[in-house]
């Protein structure tokens, strides 16, 4: 929880923003028991994020004065009942907002009634003043596991599928590259001989895949902090151990390390993997990657008209760590002051600092945890290093880059100046894409 007195230029939203995690599950629908504006606020934050039944399609009780005074449970009963008539969906997730929480509606009992009739419905408390969407993503996933996946446990014995894993990585929509990233993780893990449940997006198997969560042999957590409660929960519930890679793997060093770590862990966990084949796959990926880097090196080293030599990143902890390491070692751009804007809880900050420190033993990279991005910008406004600067951040940072005369790459939310569909930044190919994006933008300044 953030202690900031104000947040300017927010880079995340409140708990109910985790409705996007529901939208990311094929044919699932979020049902909001909330004020009339919550859906609009979330749709406006993420933009281009309606999916199958989110955005203006999502049912909502639209709390009015009447529900505030008398409670909204009857209204919710009506809306849920009619959702089944109007929308064709496989999973319904009721998310409650501030109004429902303050009024104290007993949503659990109501939803239990529908569940007792066999409806695939779950509920999760997502009052905006209780958590951020980074945190509430875990609440949503846990709710689906405890209230829905639970019903299929008899036919999905825990850890019964040796080579299957659950992947807990990108937060849908909050990570602008989530769709591409999940697809790439799935491909990479398949290269090792593992079948990954990615749970969200078109490469997931929808609710059938969710039902099979218990069968996975072990889990993979790719995140500095968010999503960890899910991994812990699955460990408790199904005895699935997890291997924890603490940031998004971008480029060859990190992706190689990630795959090595997963491979070791898989072997320990008794996965039936052809190790030689898996190692050959990694080698092939690395070789293909460096073929590109070698081709590019001359340009990076010789382009005489000016390229950025240092960078500032304003992003969530996973991207700040990943891009800092990647830019320094694999692109040759020196990371300077970095800003983590995701409201990282204090308990994780030290480990993240330590991880960043491992980026280099010959330089100090100042790191700020600052959910108040307006304040982060104020700090950055006062910083100047020699050479051409690059800022990687949200749309807000374009304005700052313009003011400072820096290059700018849009890679975080909110993102009014860039469209992302299936692009991935994770993996070997993700690293190459970051390089393409940076230099495409740099070269276009010479046009």
């Amino acid at each position: 929880m953030s202690k900031a007195v104000v947040i300017e230029q927010q880079r995340y939203t409140c708990a109910i923003g985790a409705l996007q995690s529901v939208v990311a599950i094929p044919r699932a629908v979020p049902i909001l028991h909330a004020g009339p504006g919550c859906g609009e606020m979330i749709a406006g934050f993420f933009e281009r994020s309606a999916g199958y039944a989110g955005g203006s399609t999502a049912p909502c009780t639209n709390f009015s004065e009447k529900e505030v005074v008398f409670g909204g449970i009857n209204r919710l009963r009506q809306i849920i009942g009619n959702t089944y008539k109007v929308l064709d969906t496989d999973l319904q997730v009721v998310l409650t907002g501030c109004t429902a929480a303050i009024v104290g509606d007993d949503v659990d009992s109501l939803v239990a009634e529908f569940a007792a009739e066999g409806k695939p419905i779950v509920t999760v408390a997502t009052a905006g003043f209780n958590a951020t969407n980074f945190e509430a993503h875990s609440l949503v996933v846990k709710a689906i596991i405890d209230q829905y996946v639970r019903r299929f446990e008899a036919e999905n014995k825990p850890r019964s599928s040796k080579n299957t894993v659950n992947l807990l990585a990108s937060i849908p929509y909050q990570d602008p590259f989530w769709k591409g990233n999940l697809t790439e993780y799935k491909r990479l893990l398949a290269g090792l001989g593992l079948k990954a449940n990615v749970l969200f997006g078109p490469e997931s198997g929808g609710v059938r895949e969710w039902q099979s969560i218990p069968k996975a042999n072990f889990n993979i957590l790719v995140s500095p902090w968010y999503g960890k409660p899910i991994a812990d929960h699955l460990k408790n519930r199904y005895g699935q151990d997890y291997t924890w890679f603490r940031h998004i793997p971008i480029g060859a060093n990190a992706t190689g390390a990630f795959l090595d770590q997963v491979l070791e862990f898989a072997l320990q966990q008794g996965a039936e993997i052809d190790e030689q084949k898996a190692r050959a796959f990694i080698q092939h990926e690395v070789a293909a990657y460096y073929e590109e880097i070698e081709n590019l090196a001359t340009f990076l080293l010789e382009f005489r008209y000016g390229l950025p030599n240092h960078a500032h990143i304003l992003h969530d902890a996973g991207y700040v760590l990943a891009l800092t390491k990647f830019l320094l070692h694999e692109v040759g751009i020196v990371p300077k002051e970095q800003f983590i804007t995701d409201g990282t809880p204090e308990e994780f900050q030290e480990a993240i600092r330590a991880d960043l420190k491992r980026t280099s033993n010959k330089r100090e990279i100042p790191l700020f945890f600052e959910p108040d991005a307006g304040k982060a910008q104020a700090l950055l406004r006062g910083i100047r290093h020699k050479g051409r600067g690059l800022i990687i951040g949200a749309g807000w940072d374009r304005e700052l880059a313009r003011e400072k005369g820096y290059d700018f790459l849009s890679a975080a939310l909110p993102s009014p100046y860039r469209l992302v569909m299936t692009t991935n930044y994770a993996g070997f190919s993700g690293g190459l894409r970051v390089i393409e994006d940076i230099y495409h933008m740099v070269l276009s300044t010479y046009a």
Binding site: S2, V5, V6, I7, E8, Q9, Q10, T13, C14, A15, G17, V29, G35, P36, G37, C38, G39, E40, M41, I42, A43, G44, F45, A50, Y52, A53, G55, S56, T57, A58, P59, C60, T61, N62, F63, S64, E65, Q78, I79, N82, K85, V86, L87, D88, T89, C98, T99, I102, A127, G128, F129, N130, T132, G374, K375, G395, W396, E399, P414, P416
Partner: protein
Amino acid sequence: MTKINLALPAAAIREIRINSITGYQGDAEELVKAGGCDLKDKERSFSQCMGCTTSKAACMTILIQDAAVISHGPVGCASCLHEFSFTYRVNAPLRGVKKPTPRRIFSTNLQEKEAIYGGGLKLAQAIREVQNRTNAKVIFVLTTCASGIIGDDVESVCTEAEEELGIPVVPIFCEGFRSKVWTTGFDAAYHAIARKLIPKPQQRRKDLINVINFWGSDVFSQWFAPFGAKPNYITPYATLDNLKQAGEAVATVQACSTLGSYLGAVLEQDFGVPEIPAAPPYGIAQTDRWFRALGQILGQESVAEKLIAEKKKEFLPKIEALRRKLAGKTAYVTAGAAHGHALLAVLGELGVTPCGAAIFHHDPVYDSGRPENDQLAQRVADYGNVPNYNVCNKQEFELVNALNRLRPDVLLARHGGMTLWGAKLGIPALLVGDEHYAMGYEGLVNYGERLVEVMENDEFVKDLAKHAVMPYTKWWLAQPPSYFLRGGTGQ
């Protein structure tokens, strides 16, 4: 009898003030006839995400050049406001703002602790911090559902901050749950602006006409010039000083009566600035009336007649040519109330048959109380009835149902997210963001040309329709659109 009282902190909501409704299914003529007395709102037993008063109040304040805006609530309640910073930058050239600065938007990031013990203290700290950081000339504080229900005394906190900081700190009471008509958020913002920022006029400036609008292009400078006047645009792109002048203007016009109903009436009743007795100039008949009303209020009737004659000479032949191209076409309109009526008038003028409309709410009478300002009544009188007229606050399920049934040649929309449903059904869809685009005689040409273009270039929507996925059940699409409306078959 007025229901405007600037002595009170909050504006009364539209449902109470002017009997606005959000549920109706019938035709336009019947709705107009029902007027303010016979009209009863109808509830729905199914509903989808609506819209929020707080974001409507936000857009009328964030775009004020030298303002900072604080949303007093959880961080989620300011989630979509970044879009107004984008709007401000993108449309700045249309309004002569050379260096659009990033908008200053803050959230007090209300947490559980404050939800229990109150957030007043945090708000006071936030106002200080914002003033230090921005040096804004005015700070607006928007309330939210959470801060409203926990009962923070936002009025007192703002008054104290104002005394301490020496700049206006303006509370706007716009909790989402208060009204089903989200345009109440505009009223809330205007109420606060009029109450706190506009001084009683010391003079009457004959060269200044208030234009209440969004962020559309500057068409009014050119229109007012023959009258020796210029527009005072309020509130987007205004400075605090521009707002202060509003009480001195000679008249007020509106780009959209839904938007400016309240402020127009406030300026007339409390500051003596008359609102011109005519709905905005959409369609030839209404444009004639509008210029005449303007001429009359300015005492320059002959200027108005000359202007009308010149413009008609220039544009009528082009409009006639467009009518020939558009003959036999049908359209469906979905938009906020008055702008929807305006688009229906434009269609009427261009000879396109409206086969239905989904309009977000209905104000049976505007705050001025003048029947001349009722754009839907004018539309019906000028061009005839509109069938399948549905009042629904962005209830997409009803829109999809109606579109699927009526299959118009084109869908006209004003708010985001709605055009998709035209496209999914293979119906070309047009959203014009600039609300001034279709205004006046020249606007009919602008809009008519876009209509022709969008219907001609339908390859994309035809292709999309082949692959589109429909989350709505077959059962629902077979029911009447009013099924879940009180009195409908599903009740």
